[in-house]
C-alpha cells in the first residue's frame, strides 16, 4: 500500500499544477457578416470547439474557453479587438482571421503582446515572407500555394495561354503576379489581363475581352462574390462551352455551393481540404455539418480545427502557455490530425501539407448535396508551398 499512499498526493499535486498553468482562452476573430462569413464565420467557432472536445481538454485538466468577434474584414477593427482581447480579456491565442490586411495587423499586435496567432483564413504570403513573425503560424493556404497548384497543373495539362481577370486591389494584383510567374515558369504564356473594379457586379464586358483574346485558360484573380458572378456570367455567355477553361485562383467550396453545379461545372481550383477525401475527413465533416446547419466545412474551418488541436497538444506537452515555449514545441513536433494527415510547421511559420487540384463535377456526376469535386492531382507538401529561402523571412537563417 505504500504505492498508493505516495501516488495519490503526487497525482493531486500534478493536477493542481496543471489546472493553475493551463487556463486557455482562444479568440476566434473573423468575418461574421460580410463576404467571408460563410467560409469562415461561425463555422470556425464550431471547428475550434470540436478541436477542444476531441483533444479532451477537460479530462486533461486544461480549462479552455472560446470567445469570438466580427472584424468586418477591416484591419482597424481587427486591431482594436485583438488589443482588447490581449490586454483586457486574457486571450492567449487568436485563430482564423481571413482578409490579408486584417491578418497582418493582428500578426503585428500578437508579436508586440507576445501571444500566439494561428491564421487559417487569410491568403497573403507576407505572413511568412518579409513580415513573418515568431508568434505567427500561417496554417491552411496562401496565394502562392493556390497559384502554384492551379497555374502549374493547368499548364501541365495543356492550358498554355492565359488571360487574367483581376480584382483591382492589392490582393488581386499579387494573386495575378504570382500565377503569371508560375505559368511562365512552366512554359505557358500570358496574352493579356484586365482589371475590374472591386467589388463588381457585371463581368460580361471583361469576359468578352477574355474571350476575344483566344486564350486557353481564363484565370480569375478575384474572390468571393466577384468570382461567383464571373463564373456565373461566363456560363451564360457560353465561354466554357466554347472551349476556354476557367481557373479560379481563390475559390472555396461555399462558392461552388452558391453557384450550383450547372454553372460551376468544369471549373478547376486548388484547395487544402475537401470533406470527401477519405474516411477520416468524411467522419469529421459529418459531425461538423450536424453542428453547423448542414453545411460542410471549408478548408478554413478545417485549418482552424487542425491549428487549435496542434496548439493544445503543445500546451499539454510543455505544461505552459508561454508563447515562446509553445511556439518552439509547435514547430519542433510534426503535426498530425484526421483532416490534413501528417505535416509540419516550418521555421518561417508556414504550416505545410498536401494541396489538391480539383475539378468541379457536372450535375450528372454528383451523387448528392455537397458532392462537388473530383481530384485531378495531389500536390505534395514539399512542392505545394513557396520554398522558405524565397520568402525573405528574417527568421530563416
Amino acid at each position: 500500500m505504500t504505492f498508493s499512499r505516495f501516488a495519490l498526493p503526487l497525482g493531486a499535486l500534478l493536477l493542481a499544477g496543471a489546472a493553475h498553468a493551463q487556463d486557455i482562452r482562444i479568440g476566434v476573430l473573423n468575418d461574421r457578416s460580410g463576404i467571408y462569413a460563410d467560409l469562415a464565420g461561425q463555422g470556425s467557432v464550431v471547428a475550434a470547439q470540436m478541436a477542444v472536445e476531441d483533444f479532451g481538454a477537460e479530462e486533461k485538466g486544461i480549462n479552455v474557453s472560446i470567445v469570438s468577434a466580427d472584424h468586418q474584414n477591416r484591419p482597424d477593427v481587427a486591431s482594436t479587438i485583438a488589443r482588447q482581447w490581449y490586454d483586457e480579456q486574457g486571450v492567449d491565442v487568436i485563430v482564423d482571421v481571413p482578409t490579408s490586411s486584417a491578418a497582418l495587423a493582428v500578426s503585428d499586435i500578437t508579436r508586440e503582446k507576445n501571444r500566439i496567432f494561428l491564421d487559417s483564413g487569410a491568403g497573403t504570403t507576407e505572413l511568412t515572407g518579409e513580415q513573418c513573425s515568431p508568434n505567427t503560424i500561417h496554417w491552411t493556404y496562401d496565394t502562392y500555394a493556390l497559384a502554384n497548384g492551379t497555374g502549374g497543373a493547368m499548364v501541365e495539362q495543356g492550358g498554355t495561354s492565359w488571360f487574367f481577370i483581376t480584382a483591382d486591389y492589392a490582393f488581386g494584383h499579387s494573386l495575378e503576379e504570382e500565377t503569371i510567374a508560375v505559368v511562365e515558369a512552366a512554359g505557358g504564356e500570358v496574352l493579356g489581363t484586365v482589371r475590374h473594379p472591386f467589388p463588381g457586379t457585371d463581368f460580361s464586358s471583361f469576359l468578352l475581352q477574355a474571350q476575344s483574346s483566344g486564350a486557353d485558360v481564363i484565370g480569375l484573380a478575384n474572390a468571393g462574390g466577384d468570382t461567383i458572378n464571373t463564373v456565373k456570367q461566363a456560363a451564360e455567355f457560353g465561354i466554357t462551352q466554347a472551349g476556354q477553361d476557367l481557373a479560379g485562383l481563390l475559390i472555396f467550396i461555399t462558392d461552388i455551393h452558391a453557384l450550383g453545379l450547372e454553372t460551376a461545372q468544369g471549373l478547376v481550383l486548388t484547395e487544402a481540404f475537401y470533406w470527401d477525401l477519405n474516411d477520416d475527413t468524411r467522419a469529421w465533416s459529418q459531425r461538423f455539418a450536424e453542428r453547423h446547419g448542414g453545411a460542410m466545412p471549408t478548408m478554413v474551418h478545417a485549418g482552424v480545427y487542425s491549428s487549435v488541436l496542434h496548439y493544445l497538444k503543445a500546451v499539454e506537452a510543455t505544461g505552459t502557455k508561454e508563447a515562446e515555449a509553445v511556439m518552439a514545441e509547435m514547430k519542433a513536433t510534426p503535426t498530425e490530425d484526421p483532416l490534413f494527415g501528417k505535416g509540419e510547421v516550418r521555421a518561417d511559420g508556414r504550416k505545410i501539407h498536401d494541396m489538391y487540384l480539383f475539378r468541379v463535377k457536372s450535375p450528372d456526376q454528383s451523387e448528392g448535396p455537397w458532392d462537388y469535386y473530383e481530384t485531378i492531382a495531389t500536390i505534395p507538401a514539399e512542392r505545394a508551398f513557396r520554398p522558405m529561402e524565397e520568402g525573405g523571412c528574417p527568421l530563416v537563417e
Binding site: S33, G34, I35, Y36, A37, D38, L39, D168, V194, R195, H196, P197, P199, G200, T201, D202, S204, S205, F206, L208, Q209, Q211, S212, G225, I228, N229, K232, Q233, E236, F237, G238, A242, T254, D255, H257, A258, L259, G260, E262, T263
Partner: protein
C-alpha cells in the same frame, strides 16, 4: 477592317450592347425611385433591399413552392409590393409632414434591418437561380454571343419603363396622382382617397424594384448584399436624371449604362467611378439634373 481608337468595331458593338443591358437595370431601379420621390417626396433608401427581396422571393417560390420564373415575374413584385404598402402605411406615412431627411433615415434603417435578416437566414455567399429553359442559350451575332436571357432583360425593361411613363404622364390615373402630390387637399375634396393613392404608388415603385430583382436573379448572385452594391449607383443615376423626373430616370439609366460599358473597354479601372464623375459635373453645371425642373 478599320479600328476605332485601337478597338475593333466588333468588340465595341459588343460592349455597347452589354452597356445597354446594365442600363436596363439602372433604368428600372431609378424609375421606381423617381416615381416614389416624384409623387411622395420620400427618398427611398430601402429600394436596394426591396430589389434584393424580389430576387429572394423568386428563389423562395421556386425552392419552397416549385413555382418557376414566369409566374415569379408577376408574383414576386406583387408580394414585395404588398410588403412595401404595409411599410408605407405603418411607418412612412407618419413622416410625410417632416423633412426629407427623416424618410431617408427611416428607409435606410429598414434597408439595414431587411438585409441583416436575410443575411442571418441565408448566409452571404448567395443562392443559385437558373435561367429559365425557354431563354437558355443565345444568338451568335457575329460580333458577340448574345445570351437570349440578356436580350429579354432589355426588352422587358424597355416595355415596363415605357408603360410606367405612359401611365403617369398620359392617363387619367397618372393625372390624378400628379394632382394629388401638387395639392392633396383639393384632390381629396373631389372625393379621391389621397392616402390610398399614395400607398398604391409606393407599392408600385417597390414592385418595380422587385421586378428588377427577379430579372437579375438568374444572372447576378442572389445574395443579401446585391441591392446594397447597386443602390448607390442608382441614386447617382437619379440625381443625374433629375430627382423625380420619370423620363429623366429612364433615359439616364440606359445612357449611363452605355457610358459605363464604353469605359470598361477604354479604361476598365475607371468604370466604377465614371458615373460619379458625371454626377459631379452635372451637379456643378445643372444642379436640378439633366431632366429636372429647378425647384
Amino acid at each position: 477592317m478599320f479600328e476605332l481608337l485601337g478597338i475593333p468595331p466588333q468588340a465595341l458593338f459588343g460592349q455597347l450592347l452589354l452597356g445597354l443591358i446594365n442600363g436596363s437595370f439602372y433604368a428600372l431601379l431609378s424609375l421606381g425611385l423617381a416615381v416614389i420621390f416624384g409623387l411622395l417626396n420620400i427618398i427611398n433608401f430601402a429600394h436596394g433591399a426591396l430589389y434584393m427581396m424580389g430576387a429572394f422571393v423568386a428563389w423562395m417560390l421556386l425552392n419552397y413552392l416549385g413555382i418557376g420564373y414566369w409566374p415569379a415575374l408577376i408574383l414576386a413584385p406583387l408580394a414585395v409590393g404588398i410588403f412595401g404598402m404595409v411599410i408605407e402605411r405603418l411607418m412612412i406615412a407618419r413622416l410625410y409632414h417632416l423633412d426629407h431627411l427623416y424618410g431617408l433615415l427611416l428607409t435606410f434603417g429598414l434597408a439595414l434591418i431587411i438585409q441583416g435578416l436575410f443575411r442571418n437566414e441565408y448566409g452571404i455567399s448567395g443562392l443559385p437561380y437558373q435561367i429559365p429553359t425557354q431563354l437558355a442559350g443565345g444568338q451568335n451575332l457575329g460580333f458577340m454571343f448574345l445570351p437570349n436571357y440578356r436580350a429579354w432583360v432589355v426588352v422587358a425593361s424597355l416595355l415596363v419603363c415605357f408603360g410606367t411613363w405612359f401611365m403617369i404622364e398620359k392617363t387619367r390615373l397618372g393625372a390624378l396622382l400628379r394632382a394629388a402630390t401638387e395639392n392633396p387637399a383639393l384632390v381629396g375634396a373631389f372625393g379621391i382617397n389621397v392616402p390610398r393613392l399614395i400607398t398604391l404608388t409606393y407599392g408600385f415603385g417597390v414592385a418595380l424594384a422587385a421586378f428588377a430583382g427577379v430579372l437579375a436573379a438568374p444572372i447576378y448572385s442572389v445574395n443579401p448584399n446585391m441591392g446594397a452594391d447597386l443602390i448607390i449607383v442608382v441614386f447617382a443615376v437619379v440625381v443625374i436624371g433629375g430627382m423625380g423626373s420619370i423620363l429623366g430616370s429612364i433615359v439616364t439609366g440606359f445612357g449611363l449604362g452605355l457610358v459605363e460599358g464604353l469605359t470598361r473597354v477604354f479604361y476598365p479601372e475607371g468604370s466604377a467611378v465614371v458615373i460619379f464623375v458625371i454626377m459631379a459635373i452635372v451637379l456643378l453645371v445643372k444642379p436640378a439634373g439633366l431632366f429636372g425642373r429647378a425647384a
